[in-house]
Symmetry: C2
Subunit: 286 residues, 2 copies
Amino acid sequence: MKPLNRVAIVGVGLIGGSIGLAVRRAGLAREIVGVGRRETSLAIAKQRGAVDRVTTELADGVRQAELVIVCTPVDLVAGHVALAAAACQPETLITDAGSTKVQIVRDVEEAAQRENWPAGVRYLGSHPLAGDHNSGPEAARGDLFDERLVVVTPTAQTPDVDLHRLRRFWLALGASVVTMSADEHDRAIAATSHVPHLVAAVLAASTLKSDLALAASGWKDTTRVAAGDPQLWRQIVLANRDNVLAALGTVERNIAELRAALEHEDGDKLESLLREAKQNRDAVGS
Amino acid sequence: MKPLNRVAIVGVGLIGGSIGLAVRRAGLAREIVGVGRRETSLAIAKQRGAVDRVTTELADGVRQAELVIVCTPVDLVAGHVALAAAACQPETLITDAGSTKVQIVRDVEEAAQRENWPAGVRYLGSHPLAGDHNSGPEAARGDLFDERLVVVTPTAQTPDVDLHRLRRFWLALGASVVTMSADEHDRAIAATSHVPHLVAAVLAASTLKSDLALAASGWKDTTRVAAGDPQLWRQIVLANRDNVLAALGTVERNIAELRAALEHEDGDKLESLLREAKQNRDAVGS
């Protein structure tokens, strides 16, 4: 991929900071600009080499950037995309790293119609499946996207050239790329990420403090994601509420089925459920 | 700890094999005898150095052992303890590694009253919290118990000297030891191990095969234990049925509460649940 003159990253936490480090590692940009609200986070990101220049002024930061990546919490993404679009130069491509896509895409499209975006400024959604239970720029890593998957969610209006550019960008950061609709993304991610997160949180919260001394590797693995940022996850599950409720309903029904098998001491039924689970788990690998 | 002349391990899978390797590493026994049903497992255990001698005859294997550790599936433990007790020499201490304790202790006590155990032969329950999603003697490791916890479950009849011996044994294998009643153990382990296992299995089984490609680190952590042996876990949860049902009920109620908060878009409520979960998770550490 030919180096860009300037990449702007809005939000320099774990994901934004890691993108900066990975962009630098791949030599993808002559200058990486970090935009943020908090001076301390910006200072850490700069000190860690994730960005070359920092600013708290979004319009200033994205000016003359050829690629803008918005890495703020999901409820803020659409607003930041719109602000970036109004300030940046023609032909700039804007993407994001939000864990939900339908609401963001809808809000961005509404803003694009309402406002007068500069010619050629376009948005195309991304979701790098590369979370971590740590957060903030201090946890950023240049290899965070290595061998991870990034979902890109084009719409019927997305020009091929944008899809091509964005795909090459994530590939250069070490990731694999799949494309799917925002709808399909949000439905699947509810089942594979949002509901496991909520259920892990319930397991952790359901454990008596006096029993935590007995929490061994099984408990630790199963509840690990519950250490994630409560405010971020509140926004994520609210932004994908309908899909999360549907997938949570499936889990609740399957727990009820398992409970019934246990109540009736139906060992064969229990084992067949555990076997189905093992099959899915083994298919994914460590 | 003074080396024993002979330690017998009944069942040379992951746990039994690891005990053998750890006993050897600590120089705790002059001879380690492995007892098993399957010649192939015994051969692997011997080849890996977990045991010095193997036999499929339990009575033969435990003869003249000063310590017998029964590491078979929970539904077989009590029977194997009784068989070992009938065959071993006076003053032999028998323990086990079962994940549930109440039923095993009760069945063993009944057997002890029914049969005529040799003078001084005694049983004292153990549960090393050192599972792994792998199984079999090929997965055994001499460091499996390092910095892990072993619960020992004395009864009112347990002589102090036995508790002392067994505690020193597990400490020599690298573990920490806590003692509690079998009742208290089974209640707490239902919440910290058995229910997380079942819920992880439900999450894995609830995921569509076509969505597994999107399973990232969160899904992998949360469902990791679901790769465990379905047959073993069937027996474990059946053996601890009442406690598992009670702890599962708590989880179900907390999921319902979270669902209600999500349905009503009650972000504060959601966040407070996630915050409570994070507090418990952070208290345990990685």
